[in-house]
């Protein structure tokens, strides 16, 4: 996002005075100052740049609090909004922080300089750009009911979510909600969510916000009777949804590669300007175990994103600040915003099942991170051919049989009864599907008859050489004992 010129930041459009109801309110009512001041300096004494931060009750709240007028619920919930509390920053740092009070004080000070400046407010969404990205009025002080995406939402949430959503990562398509349906952030993340949940206990982070956006708000799962926001939307009929529901998050199948950030160090330069440094980010796609399981998020697997934390994050201010880095994962539950209908992992079942490189393991973590991510690492399972080795010809079954034939979502467990396909009056007994390879095709006295006739015996050995050996052994037995008996007979006659 290009920075604004200084005059653009403060330019108040006359339209604001003419058409915006807020333009009818005197400037000093919200911004303070002294309109009777004799000069500019006197007039601007006590002017508040953002009247809505930190406490909007004396500005926005003056009107938006009364019952039946404006949006009284907003100011009631305001204090619980994560844009205001920045609770996730604190919570996640504190989980890793050294418990020593003196160290905590230094951490708080450093966070105040760095992390906690990334807040927003009523004004920094609806009137101006957020201060953390330089501020500046977005449209000449006109109040925007829905904040503009580029100047507000992704000006802060740009490096990861914004770039993913708009397809700005090289070679990675944008989110289908944006590219195909031109949906903006507010289509899912409603004002209700943005203004806070109003819960008595502040949520730990955005995934605990009770009125947050959910895919299921619009996309109904099979059998769901929950009301949906998109009345024209279709129920997700593909059987894969029924199979994977409550097992994997939507993003596991429908997100593509996303940005992962590594390391972070904060400090101040020689002039005292705060700065932060991160290691180069990497595009990757990783499925980990869901460490945020709850009743409404029961999935076992979720996409996980690497967060830019490092043991030396606050070294500039105090050493050993994060002595508990192992207490919180660095690969965290994530909802990448580059949703696609078709992705590499939902191309076929085997694109995911058995594709171990998609799953997070200890190989994806640096030494100090291994303990922190132990609960996120996925214990790898044997490859599908090995897991299906109880079948007569696992490779052939995996090649020829649609996975859903056996892993039928309508059944409580995968079908393992061979005779459902290979029994009497089933299709395979009549059509000899999947003719086997013969190791020695010129020997005809073997199970080949079964196959040629369309008869199938589950697991029949189909080893012609074994027939030859077996018949030879039996013939040899006959001949041996026949000769023995004949010799006995002859000897007895001569006796």
């Amino acid at each position: 996002m290009a920075p604004l010129e200084p005059h653009e930041k403060v330019f108040v459009d006359t339209e604001f005075l003419e058409i915006d109801p807020h333009g009818k309110i005197a400037c000093e009512r919200c911004h303070g100052g002294n309109p009777k001041g004799a000069d500019r300096q006197q007039a601007h004494r006590g002017v508040i740049r953002d009247p809505s931060f930190p406490d909007p009750s004396k500005s926005c709240g003056e009107c938006h609090v009364a019952e039946g007028k404006g949006h009284p619920e907003i100011t009631k919930k305001y204090g619980t909004g994560l844009h205001i509390t920045l609770a996730p920053f604190k919570n996640k740092i504190y989980r890793r922080a050294n418990p020593d009070p003196a160290v905590r004080a230094k951490i708080d000070s450093a966070m105040g300089t760095h992390c906690m400046t990334c807040h927003s407010s009523c004004g920094q969404c609806h009137v101006s750009r957020p201060n953390s990205v330089g501020g500046g009025l977005t449209e000449g002080h006109l109040f925007k009911k829905t904040p503009p995406v580029k100047t507000n939402c992704t000006s802060c949430h740009g490096s990861r979510v914004g770039q993913e959503f708009h397809g700005e990562n090289e070679g990675v398509p944008g989110d289908v909600h944006h590219t195909a349906h031109r949906m903006a952030c507010a289509a899912c993340h409603t004002g209700d969510e943005m203004h806070g949940s109003g819960a008595a206990k502040a949520p730990f982070d955005r995934y605990e916000v009770t009125n947050r956006a959910r895919c299921q708000d619009c996309h109904a799962m099979p059998g769901s009777s929950a009301p949906r926001k998109d009345k024209q939307g279709k129920t997700l009929e593909h059987p894969s949804h029924a199979i994977h529901q409550d097992k994997v998050t939507c993003q596991v199948c429908h997100a593509v590669q996303y940005k992962n950030c590594y390391s972070c160090h904060v400090g101040k330069d020689k002039s005292g300007m705060p700065y932060f440094e991160t290691a180069p980010s990497r595009m990757d796609f990783k499925i980990g175990l869901n460490t945020r399981k709850s009743e409404e998020r029961p999935e076992q697997y979720a996409t996980v994103r690497h967060v830019p934390v490092s043991p030396g994050l606050f070294d500039f201010y105090i050493k050993d600040a994060l002595t508990g880095v192992a207490k919180a994962p660095t690969w965290t539950f994530a909802t990448p915003h580059n949703i696609q209908r078709k992705t590499p992992q939902n191309e076929t079942c085997l694109s995911c099942h058995g594709n171990n490189k998609l799953f997070l393991t200890s190989k994806d973590a640096e030494g100090w991170e291994v303990e922190a991510n132990r609960d996120v690492f996925v214990p790898l399972k044997p490859a599908p051919p090995i897991r299906h080795s109880w079948l007569a010809q696992p490779e052939r079954h995996l090649q020829k049989v649609d996975c859903l034939t056996c892993h039928n979502p309508a059944l409580p467990s995968p079908l393992k009864d061979c005779l459902r396909c290979h029994g009497n009056n089933t299709i395979l007994t009549a059509t000899a599907a999947g003719k086997p390879d013969y190791s020695l095709t010129n020997w005809t006295f073997t199970n080949r008859e079964l196959i040629d006739k369309g008869l199938y015996v589950v697991g029949s050995n189909r080893i012609p050489a074994l027939d030859l050996l077996g018949i030879s052994l039996i013939l040899f037995t006959f001949v041996l004992f026949g000769l023995h008996g004949a010799l006995r007979f002859i000897r007895k006659r001569r006796r």
């Binding site: 109880w390 015996v457 589950v458 697991g459 050995n461 074994l466 027939d467 039996i474 004992f481 000897r491």
Partner: protein
């Protein structure tokens, strides 16, 4: 003529049942394997049904034999006595390969507490304690593959199970033929057959017999 009581009633009932079951299993197995050439049990699927049912009976038959042999302590007949392995097995082999033709006496005539000769013991131990469990276990796994899915997976798939079952079937067929032939080597061709029916064995008046 002196008589020895060699086979108890349960043994004789088991032996007869076992012989019939194995024979029918061999025949139904042949039809399943070469359905174009044999139709003794009707259709292909009928042969499979017979084979499955007879196989389950053979499992019960084996368990009965095992329980009876252990509980009655008649397993003692399968124990090698001193000198029976060496030189006993060589002597018994020599008897079958040469002595029997020159009417020499049997090196290990049966007694009421040691009715099998060394080669019989070796063959029966191999058959009843190795081959038969393998045959029955592979048959059961083959019959209930989904129930034994983890085991099937462990041993390399149903094809391995099928192959083991087939090899065991071949060996049993071969042994069945040999067993019937060797039963004719008593002091008369039918003497051993009578023994296994009545339980009593008539001793060879000339002392050159076999079991």
């Amino acid at each position: 003529m002196a008589k020895l009581y060699l086979h108890t009633l349960p043994e004789r009932i088991w032996h007869g049942t076992h012989a019939v079951l194995v024979l029918l299993l061999i025949l139904s197995g042949i039809q399943i394997h070469w359905p174009d050439h044999f139709a003794l049990f009707g259709s292909f699927s009928s042969a499979i049904a017979w084979h499955n049912a007879l196989g389950l009976l053979l499992v019960a038959d084996f368990l009965f034999w095992l329980a009876y042999t252990l509980i009655s302590k008649r397993i003692i007949h399968y124990r090698f006595r001193k000198g029976e392995i060496h030189p006993g097995m060589a002597l018994q082999a020599r008897y079958y390969l040469y002595d029997i033709f020159v009417h020499k006496p049997h090196p290990y005539a049966p007694t009421e507490d040691n009715k099998f000769n060394p080669l019989q013991k070796a063959a029966y131990i191999l058959k009843m304690f190795v081959w038969m469990p393998l045959l029955l276990a592979s048959g059961l796994i083959y019959l209930f593959p989904s129930f034994f899915a983890p085991l099937v997976s462990l041993i390399g798939g149903l094809k391995v199970v099928a192959t083991v079952h087939y090899i065991m079937a071949i060996l049993f067929t071969s042994m069945y033929i040999g067993h019937i032939y060797l039963a004719t080597t008593g002091h008369t061709v039918l003497a051993e057959f009578k023994t296994v029916v009545s339980g009593y064995r008539e001793e060879d008046p000339e002392g050159a017999e076999n079991a």
